[in-house]
Symmetry: C2
Subunit: 527 residues, 2 copies
Amino acid sequence: MTESAEFPSDRIVATYELHDTERSPEALAAAIALEQTVEVPQALADASDLPPGVVGEVERIDIGAGAARTVLSYDPAVVKAGGLPALINLVFGNVSMMPGVRLVDVVFPDHVLAGFDGPRHGVAGVRALTGVHGRPLLATALKPRGVPVSRFVEMAGAFARGGGDIVKDDQNLIDDFEAFKDRVKQCADAVDDANQRTGRRCLYLPYATGPLPALTRRFEYAARLGLAGVLASPFIAGLGIARSLARDHDLMLMAHPTFSGGHFVSRREGIDPGLLFGTLLRIAGADVAVFTNVGGRFRFTRDDCASIAARLRAPLGRLPPAWPCPAGGMTFEQLPGLCADYGPDAVLLIGGALIGHGEDLEASTRTYLDVIREASQERLESPAPPREFPFDAQAPRVLAHRPGFEWSRRPSSAYKDARDLARDLAFKGVRRVELVGKFGEGTHADLRYFEVEPGGYSSLERHLHTHIVIGARGRGVLVLGGRRESLSPMDIACIGPLEIHQLRNESNEPFGFFCIVEHDRDRPMPP
Amino acid sequence: MTESAEFPSDRIVATYELHDTERSPEALAAAIALEQTVEVPQALADASDLPPGVVGEVERIDIGAGAARTVLSYDPAVVKAGGLPALINLVFGNVSMMPGVRLVDVVFPDHVLAGFDGPRHGVAGVRALTGVHGRPLLATALKPRGVPVSRFVEMAGAFARGGGDIVKDDQNLIDDFEAFKDRVKQCADAVDDANQRTGRRCLYLPYATGPLPALTRRFEYAARLGLAGVLASPFIAGLGIARSLARDHDLMLMAHPTFSGGHFVSRREGIDPGLLFGTLLRIAGADVAVFTNVGGRFRFTRDDCASIAARLRAPLGRLPPAWPCPAGGMTFEQLPGLCADYGPDAVLLIGGALIGHGEDLEASTRTYLDVIREASQERLESPAPPREFPFDAQAPRVLAHRPGFEWSRRPSSAYKDARDLARDLAFKGVRRVELVGKFGEGTHADLRYFEVEPGGYSSLERHLHTHIVIGARGRGVLVLGGRRESLSPMDIACIGPLEIHQLRNESNEPFGFFCIVEHDRDRPMPP
């Protein structure tokens, strides 16, 4: 898997197996190089005066006994600008549709890997969350779908009392957001109660799925409840999406393989399972990569599984190692073999067999853990305390207003930073007070107070984000496109996306206003 | 493709081809039924006292000369709750990983289809946007990546002046968001200028990709610039994501097939191309479904292409028909054949061949259109006027404050609606004024004013969304968990996610405050 390492260290190097016998390996390699980068015929590429390196380079073609292989290198600029979606498009976007072409390896320059933060928690982080060292973690799933919620709540509690490490929603447990809030809260409480009794820290991971914005809200809700993470389906949700959401909410991400099959089930096309579940899911931020183990209901080979585990743990820039999670019909009898095959840094996900092991799930969980402990050297440490969401519930919450439009704990600051000044955004005599949004509050909007001196003005600018303005002090003028409107205290205005605007003080007294903007927003542009 | 129509009309009916010879069709069908729904062994499913219909039902098994086929039916409840991601998980989630199982048809009850709005514009909508009737539309792509932005701007303008219908970014054109804003604005202006000259309306569709929130912003930017739509990659971005974003911004969605290959390139597994690009992409909201045409650089058969086009146009609940867009190496010589094969309701996407046709892209575009017109009966109507974003730039923007904390054009309303009252959210003496957010402003936050009578209080509640509160009139008490803080005019407070809170008036004067919330937000829960 590391044959690509001898090629240009400043480019992304991808290796493909070529099973297509209709075209020569040379012709196919040249076609891939064009298809994945400029997507025009060679003659047009030649005529376009392209900077060197933009077209993919065929570095090598190997024609051996089995399938031919070719190694190509690519300019990493698009990946640096567009992240994981751009990476996928670059190494296997259109080529995924070519029969007989299989992606088997990708090697990245360190400066590209530095743009991915990968697993948020990784092996060490999840060890710290659970407090369990020296042995594989035992995980289960809440199922079957269709039983009453109270049954899932009992199961979650029993598994945690029995000493289980991770209990997750089944990926078939899907309900609307308001029902999700209710069910997840009950399951989380049951696990919390069990943890209080055992002194351990079993993690409960709800399943986050759905279209936007429901998907985002499920991640956010899990975070706000203080849960350690979520189960998500990157192959349905989008490989670039789950990571963004987990990072934004500091959640551990357990990646379910649903809908991944097309990418590997043919052995002539698609992506090598080790590369897909080991390298790409790790770059996509999976802390735990669930895959179907050899000997279960699916058909990965022993080599596939070993390759996945190896790639989740191998050096990959500064990305921490992640957990392999063999699953898909594992049984009690397979436990010793699983421990031997994967070693201590694995999550063993056993659903149906554990739930059906006996009447008493708490006792069954203990029985399973006994077998795991026999095969390992368990060391328990105090688990990390429950996550505190950054919002400090004990801090004084009210920012008291003081004479002269000052606020407690919020000093005035410069109106614009140097980066904006460099963009021709001139202004005069503006004071700024950041009130809400920059202090870990977790709000989606920021609140600022601006005060303009007599004769002063804010910069004339436009941007994608919107403003809501509330007059607070004195009288000012809102310039919107070619129009002017007067703004007095308690008057309200809003400024739409890309509208050119400015606030001016043409009076002899200070003009102050509140301005509400989106927390994540684009930078202003000159008109 | 309609064989499933004879099965239960209130369930989702899926047909699979079975190419796996290691298991009998009966065993495989039974395994799929369990895998896709409850994911536990049959014995455990039997013992779980499940409501009828939760487990998938094997409706039929056909063993003929070729591959065996099985028809299964599923309970649609999860899809109604979880949308397209739940649908994908239900019909082909884990089963995608089973060798030798191919999904070839899915039939939906009308009440399930009613939950998907599908293409926003469809065939009729894009006809109205362009004003072109009776002939296929001609589309091209801005490429090759690597040439200066000014070259793309020239190309976009020349294609539009030559009478082309849709010019889109190449899916390899990926840059960071601030560079994207600049490039897209220039290309959009060039097409606008050309449209002014021709009196027609060529559409420019930029490519929206990236992790969140960059992806969302690209859709939003396109909408705010007044563009008709975007090109997106649902197979990378997530099939459920592109639709949500296009709907939120009222954009036409052109779906690029990059990274889709794994889902169909093996003929033993994956999803039938007609079902994938015709039915599923249409449910996923594609107005235009790009696929690789027979005879180009890829290998769809004539039947595959005909099936895609047929499914994009066939009755499917109330979903409008969408456009097939054959692409992938189409040439000038193929134009008459394309017109004959697809008829007038097709978008013919020709990139490299058109760009490389001659020095003068405007003249080449005319030449291509002449051939298309020869094969069709073109009727030009006045195209729809450019999209106006709902924000009305001419309306007075300032809501003037009036004595007694009333505002122009914004009447007071009830504090809570009946749905909240039914949830035990008691309150007393509260007046509400919706100021910003409910009037098509396009802001991400809503601004409301609340006024509490002496002795009154808001409901004691919590929710995932946050509040920012600004004191405006009189003096009140903010109850946060077990704490109380005083709130006077111009004091600021914020209330975090899931914090239990209430605002009370314990004085003898009215207590009024502004409250800022996210525009899209969850409903309050009792403490």
